[in-house]
Amino acid sequence: MNTATVSEDEGHQEHHDHGLSDFGYIKVAILLGVLTALEVATYFFDFGVVETPSLLILMVVKFQIVVSYFMHLKFDSKVFSYLFVTGLVLAMLVFAAMGTSMAFWQNPSGCDASAFC
């Protein structure tokens, strides 16, 4: 068996790895529920300066878990990951472009557009 054959076999094995058992998915859902509870806790308790970073981190973790396990991206072809990540990156670029535009655009009177005047 040459290297190419081994590689093809490994690829075949990876392609047919369809993720978790039902109980595994239920455990993932419980984890997502716990993370959501942590998010909601920030509304009832004052977390100070770490509140916004914590919420962003929890959001990214939940997003990653759903995409990886429920959408099978962790187990599926990399082509799907490339398609999805391309859309995500473009979406972030849209946000960055809009953000910078609003920060730099000013009307002739010197009024900052972000102040809605």
Binding site: E8, H12, H15, H16, H18, D22, Y25, I26, V28, A29, L32, G33, T36, E39, V40, T42, Y43, E51, T52, L55, L56, L58, M59, K62, F63, V66, V67, Y69, F70, M71, H72, S77, V79, F80, L83, F84, V85, T86, G87, L88, L90, A91, M92, V94, F95, M98, G99, M102, S114, F116, C117
Partner: protein, 214 residues
């Protein structure tokens, strides 16, 4: 069980007969075109929601000199929305269980999970309608100010996505019930599932960025 064994041996996966020796489809990618198309669509939908979320974030505090009125953030009922978010999150679990059920040829269980997912999605939509009605009664309409327009456009578009997902789920349930979709076409349910999980991850972002982050 006999049905399951028969389904696994009598039909090639996805009802296709054009696999090569390594069970790859004769496409450029070796993947089904339907699934590639759904992922491409989801990637493009990221752009739509990216633009809508950006618009909301940039105008969330803008009420304008003439219009005024409250912003959506002034009226949020976080405990209520948290329950809605939890319901939508759990619908992702029932969706993935529907997919694994049909892959194992457990058709009755698949139908049950599909209907459960549609029901959870309907509860989420009902909650959104209740929330919007409450906002309207408090004086926050679509055209009240820039902030409210951006909020209703963003959450409304998401609600439309969820509603379309419910229609697709009920259609899948009907097709499975009539025998039009069997284990050999499990990928059809999986593709609908991808769409459903996508509306869930969009809500994960909206819930954190729009509702929770001050």
């Amino acid at each position: 069980m006999a049905d399951a064994a028969e389904a696994q041996t009598s039909e090639p996966a996805y009802g296709r007969t054009d696999w090569d020796d390594h069970h790859h489809l004769p496409t450029n990618t070796g993947l089904t075109n339907e699934k590639v198309t759904m992922w491409a669509f989801l990637g493009s939908d990221c752009l739509l929601f990216g633009a809508l979320i950006s618009t909301y974030l940039l105008s969330r505090n803008r009420v304008g000199p003439a219009t005024r009125g409250p912003t959506a953030a002034d009226l949020f009922d976080i405990p209520f929305t948290s329950v809605s978010s939890f319901v939508l999150l759990m619908s992702s679990m029932t969706m993935v269980l529907a997919v694994t059920s049909i892959q194992r040829a457990e058709m009755e269980r698949c139908k049950m999970w599909l209907l459960t997912t549609a029901a959870l999605g309907s509860i989420f939509i009902a909650g959104q309608v209740y929330e919007f009605t409450g906002f309207y009664r408090e004086g926050l309409g679509f055209t009240t100010n820039l902030s409210s327009s951006a909020f209703f456009t963003l959450t409304g578009f998401h609600g439309v996505h969820v509603s379309l997902g419910i229609v697709m789920l009920v259609t899948m349930w009907a097709l499975v019930t009539r025998g039009n979709i069997g284990p050999e076409r499990a990928e059809t349910i999986e593709i609908i599932g991808l769409y459903w999980h996508f509306v869930d991850i969009v809500w994960i972002v909206i819930f954190a960025v729009v509702y929770l982050i001050p």
